[in-house]
Symmetry: C2
DNA sequence: GCATTTAGTGTACATATGTACGCAGCGGGC
DNA sequence: GCCCGCTGCGTACATATGTACACTAAATGC
C-alpha cells in the first residue's frame, strides 16, 4: 500500500518539477511570517508548500539552509519593493513624506512579508551564515536612500527606517503617516514641508 | 536508586530556595543570548540554571511564560543601563557623542545581553503576549532620550538608536564611535561638536 | 511533638523533529 | 528498443521536547 501511493497520489510528475525549489523557499517565508523562526521546521515548510518532507530535505538539507534561503528571498523582495518605490519617486517629491508613506505601506499592505523579513534579519544575530545577507540588506537600504539624498544621509535613514518599522509594528496605536513624516523630516534636517 | 538520588544530590534545600525563580529567569536570558529564541526550551534553561526540569515547568508552566519573563528581565536591564548612562551625563555633555558611546558600550561590553534583548524585542512580532513589553521598552527609550533633548527628539532617537545597534551588530566592520557620532549629530540637527 | 498544608521535584509519556537511506521513475547512450 | 545513471521522494528511526502527575520534605498551627 505504501508503494502504490507513491505513484498514485503524486502531486507533480516525479523528477523535473522546475520551480519546486522556489515554491519551497516561498513556503519557508510564509512559515516564518506566521510562526516566527522557531516555527521553521522541515515538516512545516513541506506542509505549506504541499510537497513531501523528503523534498524539503533534498533541496535544503539542513535547517540553516532553509533559514538562509528564506532570508535571502525575503530581503530581496523587501529591497525590490523599496527600489520600486524609489523608482516611482518624482524628482521633486517630498522625500520625508514619501518615506513615511513607505513605512506605512510596509506595515499595512505587506505586513506579514515585512514581519518575516525583520525576523530573519534579527535571526542573523545568532546564525553566522546569515550575517552577510543581513548586512547586505542594510547596505542596499543605505544605498537606495542615499542616492535620493546624499550617501551620509542614506546611512542615517537606513537604521532609522528599520527602527521605525519595528517600533511602529509593535506600538499600539501605531504612529500615523503624518507622525512618521514629521519625525523623518526633522531627522533629515528639518524644514517644514514645501 | 532513583529515590536516594533525590535526597543525595540535591542542589539546594528543597522547598524555600528563594531566588531560584530569579536564577531561572537569568538562565533564560543567557540561553536566548547564546542560541536565540528557538533555543529556549525548558530543558536548556534547566541545565543552564542547574535546576531540575520540573523546577522550570513549576515556576514557568509554558514556554510563553519563559519567553515573557526573559523579555521583561532583559528589557528592564537594558533600560536600567541606559538610565544609568543618562544619570551620569553631565548637564553640558555633548549628547551626540555620548549617545554614540552608549551604542558602542552596548555592543562591546554588553554584547550578549544586548543581543538577547533585541532578539526578544523582535520575537514580540509573533507572540502577542510580549507586545506590550516591547512597546514599553520603546516608550522608556523615547522618554529617557527625550528628557535630555525634547520629547519629539526622543521619539526620533529611540528608533534610530535601536536601528543603529542592530545594524552595527551585523555590519562588518562595525561602525566606529566617531562614525556613529557623526550620524547621530546630523540626525539631531547637525552643528559640529562644541 | 504531631498533623496538615503547600512548595518543589523526579519521572514517564505522547508527540514532534532532524536526518539517513533504499527505491522509483525519467533522460541519455548505444 | 534496451540499459544505466541520476534526480527526487517516502519512510523509518533515534532523539529532543512539552507537559502531567505522583511523591517528597520543609513549614506552619496547635
Amino acid at each position: 500500500m505504501a508503494v502504490s501511493s507513491n505513484t498514485g497520489q503524486r502531486r507533480a510528475r516525479g523528477p523535473n518539477d522546475p520551480g519546486r525549489r522556489d515554491r519551497i523557499a516561498e513556503a519557508a517565508i510564509r512559515i516564518v511570517a506566521e510562526r516566527g523562526v522557531p516555527g521553521l521546521t522541515h515538516r512545516a515548510v513541506a506542509a505549506a508548500a504541499d510537497v513531501p518532507v523528503g523534498s524539503t530535505t533534498y533541496h535544503f538539507a539542513t535547517l540553516d539552509d532553509l533559514l538562509s534561503v528564506a532570508l535571502h528571498e525575503a530581503s530581496q523582495r523587501n529591497i525590490a519593493q523599496i527600489r520600486e518605490w524609489a523608482d516611482d519617486l518624482a524628482p521633486d517629491a517630498d522625500f520625508a513624506a514619501e518615506l513615511a508613506a513607505l513605512v506605512r505601506l510596509q506595515l499595512d499592505s505587506r505586513h506579514s512579508a515585512t514581519t518575516a523579513a525583520y525576523d530573519l534579519y534579527v535571526a542573523a544575530l545568532h546564525y553566522p551564515s546569515l550575517r552577510s545577507a543581513s548586512a547586505a540588506w542594510d547596505e542596499a537600504l543605505a544605498e537606495i536612500f542615499g542616492s535620493r539624498t546624499d550617501p551620509e544621509m542614506g546611512r542615517i535613514l537606513a537604521p532609522l527606517f528599520a527602527g521605525l518599522v519595528l517600533q511602529a509594528s509593535l506600538a499600539d496605536p501605531s504612529p500615523s503617516r503624518r507622525q512618521l513624516e514629521a519625525w523623518i523630516r526633522r531627522a533629515m534636517g528639518g524644514s517644514p514641508a514645501p
